[in-house]
């Protein structure tokens, strides 16, 4: 059986979920490997959620939110950036690899960018292969 990446995407309610909506209404195609979880703000994405996603078998995790300066809650996405940077070090040290985590900003008008980001990231994970956690046959 060929490897199909399982990707968890955390989307913020105001921009990136809007972008995903936009991609849908614009009839844009993107890989079905992504499972979307909606948050009120990307600043709500606790690092634990990312870790749990990996522990429960995700091959990659996407964090997406509004562009810096456009956050519905003014500075929620500043926190997202600091957590993302922190998580990259964590994943590298643990041995999962920071390239399995990505951060992208998509405004509600950027349906095409969202679709492209998902396509690129899915391709990247496909190249990387299954998450090293998965091979433990949980």
């Amino acid at each position: 059986m060929t490897f199909e990446p399982k990707i968890i995407a955390f989307l913020c309610n105001w921009c990136s979920y809007g972008a995903a909506d936009m991609a849908g209404t614009s009839r844009l195609q993107y890989p079905p490997n992504v499972r979307i979880i909606r948050f009120m703000c990307s600043g709500r994405i606790d690092p634990n959620f990312v870790i749990e996603a990996f522990l429960r078998g995700a091959d990659g995790v996407m964090m997406t939110g509004c562009h810096i300066g456009d956050c519905h809650y003014i500075d929620g996405n500043y926190k997202t950036v600091h957590r993302y940077e922190f998580l990259k070090d964590y994943l590298d040290t643990l041995g999962i690899g920071s390239e399995r985590l990505t951060l992208a900003w998509c405004s509600a008008a950027e349906g095409a960018k969202f679709a492209q980001t998902v396509a690129d990231f899915t391709e990247q994970i496909r190249r990387l292969g299954p998450s090293p956690f998965k091979e433990r046959g949980q």
Binding site: N48, E52, F86, D89, G95, P132, R136
Partner: protein, 385 residues
Amino acid sequence: MMGTEYWGWAGEAHLREHGESGGAVSGLLASVLSSYDEVIVIRKTGTVFEAEVHTLDSPQGIARVQGALHAVSIELSHYLQLGRKTAIVLKPCEARAVIENIKRNHVRREDVLLIGLNCGGTLPPVKTKEYLRTQFGVSPGDIAKEEIAKGNLIFFTTDGQELSRSIDELEEAGYGRRESCRYCDVKIPSMCDIACGNWGTPAEKHITFLEVFTDAGAAALEAAVDGGYVSVSEPGEKLAAVRKKIEGIMVKMAKGWQEKMLGPFMAMEPKERLDAIHAALAPCIGCYACRKACPVCKCGDDCKCFQADPDDQLPISMFHAVRFLHLMESCVGCGQCSDACPMEIPLAHLHQLFAKAYEGRTGYKPGMSCGDIPPLSRGDFPEGY
């Protein structure tokens, strides 16, 4: 008062006689009791391998307490209570733990007077006792005093014998200091109000080298001097330089140990490292003793490390995964988790792996200053995004 470095000794004759290095710390403690509610120290309960945490609220019995014992690695920072004005005598790792607690509002900085002790490392009691029995043929109960000086570990027996071994030699043989102490690179607790120690003092005289870092420390020392509890003099310039040199050598040794103990882990392929961490955690029985012993872990029962279902068959338990994450920004490397683990998992080693990796990239070192914002609590404008 001029300058920030002094030589000090106790004003009272019996403290000077009784206290370590001239009893300056004991004198200081007797003095601060007038402005603080309590003083937290340890008290020897038998041999040099046993002590209890002791809270003093009057100068009575001050001659019987200890600043620290090499073979008793209690974490005193656990005993601080919010809202009590407390003076506390700490090793650098304990002091760093207090700073981490201050950052997270579990302790108020203005409530505590941190009296730090220079620390070259502590000893694991069980291994040290074993060494005494097998190598020196001495019963651990017969040890009256221990000391680390000039790279040697020295034991004095009750009948006046002096037993000495080089620490390097001991550590090559698998004895010596605790693992976490070997690669600890904070030897003089500069985050405290006052740091005390016998480095940089004339060997034959009983004197303590005091370095004052804060206004609160200066005020406490001034009050102690004015009250006749402590006498001070300017330190000899040459010996002050010797103190810096000793610190330099110790830190260099610690870096060497970091290279030796953490280096191989970091040099592994990511996949191999994951396997190694997984294998190290395999014996875990989920008793949570490491968390209980941890001086910086203060979230209480609501902590996210408890939120996962223990029956989940995850490759690494959520408990450890979350603790790695939390301690990556706060591990002070005290080694209490390794000591507490009934399955002898080298937890401190694993946590330091994460903390040192983060420190290496960003330069953020936990517990060094109350002004540092913990990375996961940051919300400032991110540059470059």
